[in-house]
């Protein structure tokens, strides 16, 4: 069931669980409202000969949809995730090794791309892979009355005229990645990027509390 939100300017409730899997070096299940994704990270580990890069680690992403075989859309998805992760990882610290990120869709209830990006970031945090900075993704939709809805559900996404996903970093709040569908004006784009930028703070806070909770167990 969808938890009602007080307004469209709020993210859905976020939750995460670390360490559900025993084999990976880092893993997390992220819930963002009803949307949920499990991500596992292996690395830096051994790399296949033909994928070896001499001066940095090879970052691989695999996206597994809930059902069916991955197609073109999933490839694009994988590539977006990989390019995003490549940017914030300190891949140069581990030359000739591979960092693989496996993303498994559990449930898509809207804002799926942002949930995947956030789960990748948390899984890499869990694995303690060296990173330049953190990223937080926020999706928003522009509905037919030109209102901005943060973190839309599937139904809201379908009814809207545009859906925009932004990935922000925590260094100086620049935009790392953008992915959009539908058409919109420059003004709307700016409004959305501002709203999402503010909302991304909540995601970074969520990262902090999650990691603090995880580490408090250890001490």
């Amino acid at each position: 069931m969808e938890i009602p939100r007080s307004s469209g300017f709020q993210l859905r409730h976020m939750m995460c669980e670390f360490g559900q899997l025993s084999r990976p070096d880092g893993d997390v299940t992220v819930f963002q409202g009803d949307t949920s994704v499990t991500t596992a990270v292996y690395g830096p580990g051994e790399v296949r000969m033909n994928k070896e890069i001499l001066n940095k680690a090879t970052v691989e992403t695999v996206f597994k949809p809930k059902s069916g075989l991955p197609g073109c859309a999933e490839k694009m998805f994988e590539r977006t995730l990989r390019n995003t992760c490549e940017t914030f990882l300190l891949a140069a610290l581990h030359p000739r090794s591979s960092i693989s990120i496996i993303v498994q869709e559990i449930q898509d209830s809207g804002s799926f791309l942002s949930c995947c990006v956030n789960s990748c970031c948390l899984a890499l945090l869990d694995a303690s892979v060296a990173m330049k900075f953190l990223v937080a993704a926020v999706t928003c939709a522009i509905d037919s009355e030109e209102c901005i809805i943060l973190d839309p559900t599937v139904k809201q996404e379908k009814d809207s005229c545009a859906v925009l996903t932004f990935v922000f970093e925590n260094k100086d709040d620049s935009i790392l990645a953008v992915y959009t569908t539908g058409s919109y004006t420059v003004q709307q784009f700016q409004q959305c990027s501002q709203t999402c930028g503010e909302a991304s703070k909540a995601v970074f806070d969520f990262y902090r509390t999650s990691i603090e909770k995880k580490l408090s167990k250890a001490t």
Partner: protein
């Protein structure tokens, strides 16, 4: 080293081929060059060459959407265009590009699938948009979107009449495909995390630390695609949008001129 050499010219706002940072390469457009296809276009952006052919086929619609036709884009990056590509099934990049083109068509609404309906529930058009890269010298996204749009503008669908449940195609009577909006793509590269420049060549793509593709349609944006890479401030994105709108005017003028010259 190539990196060091490149660093110098870019620092002074001049690129290895003499272009300024905001300058596109020379764009050459040829429309209707494949006579066997319903629509076609050949685009050259500097050395990058993409051929687009549109074949129309009749098919039964999906039961859920009885009045909608299909548009199937397919991008081919063969070893012909660059040694980087291997023969065999489509590479990841080709698949990503096909998906990109499909999303541009969907987001811009340039061809409405409802206009492809012949007999609701029975017969619709399937447009196979085959984009073949002949020479890969960077910025294939912009070239592909331009080739696609020009080919759509060139497409004429044969008239179909249904006589006693049997469709009859008459090639003498054709009508133009309705193109309701015109998407134009502009790609920007980021160099050294701060310098933005348009229309990268393959060499520049290799050195770039990030890319942004902006697709405009009319006075709106229909796609801002930035898959990772160096972070940008929103002001930097705004300058990209401004340049993209300017570029769209240039490109649309070029298409109109070419169509006129072909008709003459």
């Amino acid at each position: 080293m190539a990196d060091d050499f490149k660093y110098g010219p870019h620092e002074k706002d001049v690129r290895p081929d003499g272009r300024e940072l905001g300058e596109f390469r020379r764009t050459v457009l040829n429309i209707g060059c494949i006579t066997t296809a319903e629509g076609s276009a050949l685009v050259k952006l500097g050395n990058t060459t993409i051929m687009c052919g549109i074949k129309a086929e009749l098919a039964a619609p999906k039961p859920a959407e009885p009045d909608r036709g299909f548009i199937v884009p397919n991008v081919q990056l063969t070893p012909l265009c660059s040694p980087h590509f291997r023969p065999g099934p489509p590479s990841e990049q080709a698949q990503v590009m096909s998906q990109f083109i499909a999303e541009v068509i969907k987001n811009s609404g340039c061809v409405d699938c409802q206009n492809l309906c012949v007999v609701p529930g029975k017969l619709v058009w399937v447009l196979h948009c085959d984009l073949m890269c002949l020479d890969y010298d960077g910025n294939v996204y912009d070239t592909a979107v331009l080739a696609l749009l020009a080919a759509f503008r060139n497409t004429r669908l044969p008239h179909v009449e249904e006589k006693e449940e049997v469709p009859e195609v008459t090639m003498d009577k054709t009508c133009s495909l309705i193109v309701s909006s015109q998407p134009v793509s502009s790609t920007f590269s980021i160099f050294d995390d701060r310098i933005l420049f348009v229309d990268p060549t393959v060499e520049e793509e290799g050195l770039a630390t990030g890319m942004v593709t902006v697709v405009t349609v009319g006075n709106k944006l229909c796609m801002v695609h930035k898959p990772g890479g160096s972070p940008l401030k929103s002001e930097q994105l705004l300058t990209c949008f401004d340049r993209a709108f300017d570029r769209s005017k240039e490109v649309l003028r070029l298409i109109e001129e070419t169509i006129l010259s072909v008709e003459r």
